[in-house]
Amino acid sequence: MSDLVAHPVRKRWSERPLLQLTLVRYREFVREPEAVFWVFIFPLLLAAGLGIAFRNRPAERTAVAVRASAFQATALADALRRDQRLSVQVLDDSAADQALRVGRVALLAVPSGPGQMEYRYDELRPESRAARLLVDDVVQRAAGRQDPVAAADRQISEPGSRYIDFVVPGLLGMNLMGSGIWGIGFSIVDARRKRLLKRLIATPMSRPQYLASFVLSRLTWLVLEVALLLGFAALVFKVPVRGSLLSLALICLLSALSFASLGLLLASRARTVEGVSGLMNLVMLPMWIFSGVFFSASRFPDAVQPLIRVLPLTAVNDALRATMLQGAPLGAVSVELGIISAWLLVTFPLAVRIFRWK
């Protein structure tokens, strides 16, 4: 073992502990395909699925039926067919009743004689009420009604007000939370369980550098994570980013730091992966529901709104939406930024203070 001589040498930058520790985080992450999937691919799939499911469809034609045995049924059907908004069938008695009953048609028109009309429909179905108005409109005009007011229709569908525009910032916020809390929580508790943490603190390793390596690697991945989701949303669904990219980057950075230190706090004592999983779900579940990821947080009763407002994910989602959809400057989201910073300033020192190294 004559090789084992102690040369004090000045280390190259690549041999510095902080870089080595960060590289370890990076390697552990990319060598875990499941983690890569949940952080990068899953949010895209979710955005794609929601975007498709809740896309704004061209207005569908309303299905209505005319009873074949009724007075001048064919003439009525022809008149109705000229309206693009209706899809018309002529059905005999039993088939017509059946179609109405199962909801295959919204309304059954039964002309009972010259100048007489009967509509059969379910008052409780909104499309049936709409069909009643549409069909009657056509019938009255065909019979020679003149409208005193000339009305023109102009239809709009603008990016920024659709469901996908609402949900993408929410997904981004949820992803920042999930990867911050899961990414840090599991690795730390796993290292503690395997006694690797104890082995590491037996070396001259700096403990703050160890914790910093998690935050640093998180921030590296953050860039990719955000760019991927927003790029996908912009490309596929034309989801806009109306505010400045710099504001958006700052919000993401602050949010990632805040969630990372929340993850650190959750992982600071737990000895088992099961223990920390439970804790993480306990903390994240209310935010998935209340913080306005998939639907607006304002749907919850006023009494609980103050509680919902102080959740970090609510603040993150609100800040992201204001910036992306309304083009709000940073000043306009200062309350949200304040809440996110407050979480960071409380959780980080607490996590460092109560952290269990052994």
Partner: protein, 311 residues
Amino acid sequence: MSGSAPPLSVRGLRKAYRDVVAVDGLDLELRPGECFGLLGPNGAGKTTTVEICEGLTPADAGDVVVLGRRWGRDDNELRALLGISLQETQFSEKLTVAETVRLFRSFYPRGAAPETVVRMVQLTEKTNARVGQLSGGQKQRLALACALVGAPELLFLDEPTTGLDPQSRRQLWDLIEEFRAGGRSILLTTHYMEEAERLCERVAVMDHGKIIALGAPRELIASLEAEHVLEFAVADGPPLDPESLRRLDGVCSALQRDGTWQLQVAELHRAVPALLAELRQQGAQLTELRTHSPTLEDVFVSLTGRHLRDE
């Protein structure tokens, strides 16, 4: 630390966990360049003692001086001078051998290149293998590499070969002997007698948090005054009288455990005929008879009446 100052000196060490006393007033001193063994069964307090010396566990009372320094005052300096292998550390399975050693090297201000250390522990072929794919022996050699990579003055090895097959164990022994040949000191814990006999200049036998015997393995064995250990078992029948066995010609002591009798014997050629005669007289049927040279295990048995590997 080539002078005469002890690399490690422990005085009156005491540590209790709730109501269990793990270390109960322990004194010990390493000599420079020595490999010192802490030998004892599980729960004897070996690991607690070592972890206090490593600065990982605070002591309740006592004085610990490591390389002339003290924990709580010179922690950073000390951590850079010690090499440590803990019991049951699992390194990250997703890293390779080289990456793991490089990580540990980055923590220390001095030491050999990671590749050199990997070569020393004979893992060069596995340099780029993931830790998760290594065998038990290879993992222990990796642990040794991480302990050596900072060029330590003093090495702590807590059960370095537990759970390994004999071949891996011998391979690790060779490596430890090589390190010791460099003149540095080692504190080793083990519950394998062969390991202590092979590696250690001196051993301290520990039981219930105390040192119950201290000395060179050969001295401790010689203190038994028995040249041989005779083990025998008899078929079911009335119990044998231990006093009658102890009185036999050439027998120093007699002890029964798990149906097997163990006699420490000074002169085998007189003890065996005497034993056979005695058994015949007590009407016992011999089912097993063997003999071995005394080991540290027999020292432990004669001191405590128990085997090392008993819980």
